[in-house]
Point group: C2
Chain length 296, copies 2
Amino acid sequence: MTTALIHTIADTRRAVAEARRGGSTIGFVPTMGALHAGHGALIRQAREESAFVVVSLFVNPIQFDRNDDYEQYPRTLPEDLEFCRALDADAIFAPSATEMYANPQLTFIEVSSLSERLCGEFRPGHFRGVATVLNKLFNIVQPDKAYFGEKDGQQLSIIQKMVADLNIPVTIVPVPTVREPDGLAMSSRNRRLSPEERRVAPVLYQALIEARSAVARGCAEAGAVREAALAVLRAVPQFRVEYLEIVEHATQQPVQHVCAPVRVAAAVWLGQTRLIDNVLAEPALAKQQVQYGSKT
Amino acid sequence: MTTALIHTIADTRRAVAEARRGGSTIGFVPTMGALHAGHGALIRQAREESAFVVVSLFVNPIQFDRNDDYEQYPRTLPEDLEFCRALDADAIFAPSATEMYANPQLTFIEVSSLSERLCGEFRPGHFRGVATVLNKLFNIVQPDKAYFGEKDGQQLSIIQKMVADLNIPVTIVPVPTVREPDGLAMSSRNRRLSPEERRVAPVLYQALIEARSAVARGCAEAGAVREAALAVLRAVPQFRVEYLEIVEHATQQPVQHVCAPVRVAAAVWLGQTRLIDNVLAEPALAKQQVQYGSKT
């Protein structure tokens, strides 16, 4: 199979329409490029489930709250193309900013409530930009399934809510976070870490694991769980904690008492680099209930 | 041909998918029911241009800024079905509010700038509700073409901008306003007028015609054009003028000097009923330029 490199919306529509006429289902992996093993898991799963796989590479200007972050975001097109070819993607859609925003963009998608806390609180306009560009990409590619990493948990819940609320005819497939051997979640931003920062970065995941263990022992107060994780983070003086929250996935609202599965989500700064991560945490009781549920 | 009456999103998707498999193009006329000759023109044009015509009948709660207006909005389902059958529509989608909003709607489409003036200024949240429900309906029906009346000129420009900005794969077809013999624009709200109100209502159109005549004489100051129209409206003491503006269609922004085609748009109250209307106005010079343009 060859992998087509496409730069325009019109050519993407043509390629997808042709595949669909041939009876193919369309799998779509939207990315900002700088591909790593996390994206690899998304593309691999799309490849298994769909006859025609489209990967988009687009650093979306309207989701950056800081211009320097947009400018410094890693761009590695030749390596990304090689990466997609090795994983047998059928088409790569790599538009310019002018192609995606030919006229001043005045239309925006707001997913209220879910967008307000966590990353939304610290990156104003970020999720509005994410929801808007994904809505555009869904309208351009018209996939049957689209693949998103669980690492961006709040983004995932917002996209799921947008798709449900707007009746978008696509199935959102969450894919588990891929980690380095030492636990650090794969991220395009990891390459910006200095060797010393890279050495301590996995402590973010260790803190989330600590919270997960606290929850696993049974129903817990969110405050105590949070404190257990923060204690781990405090061992690394280089960390500047932006947030660490215990939230319900579907609503992204913080819980007081952890008596059902939750997401423990955090954002920390290491020097000039912002890292986010999250884990699923399930109280023992909730697990038991599931087991009991399956017995009856 | 029979006209299918469908109440669920799933059945609508099925009916459209089947038609598309048969090679049909899909024409869509979204309405709030209480159908009249204006809607008739939309359905007739869809019928001429598309093999499969879907009409939706849905009084959309989230676009009403006043609950009494929502509750009093005319609902005439049996007559509407007869109307669609007579015009040979293929499917009528008449969902309940629960079907369209199964979960609390947290996702909204904002078309900024275009939504802020005219009706947007006096009906807060109205166009957000319109854009959001039409986005939903487009995702449900996935039409090739959708038909909108020019009477709702600001709505038309907002939908055109939303479709362009979000890359929605649908062609928006504007259809000229249908009028009563005395000039009153067809509207579902006209049936609320008392006989005396109905008698004076056409003066709204006469005022817009007066503005059009003022513009047709050549480049004009918007203020003078506006005053010419307002003078006509003042002859009817029952009118309470909400707005009367000279705007560029694509941006819905008021112009100072009328030297290119504009829309003269107005909203007036007659008792408890709000009427809107608009006309295209072209300065003589602009017409000449068009003529010259066609010669070269």
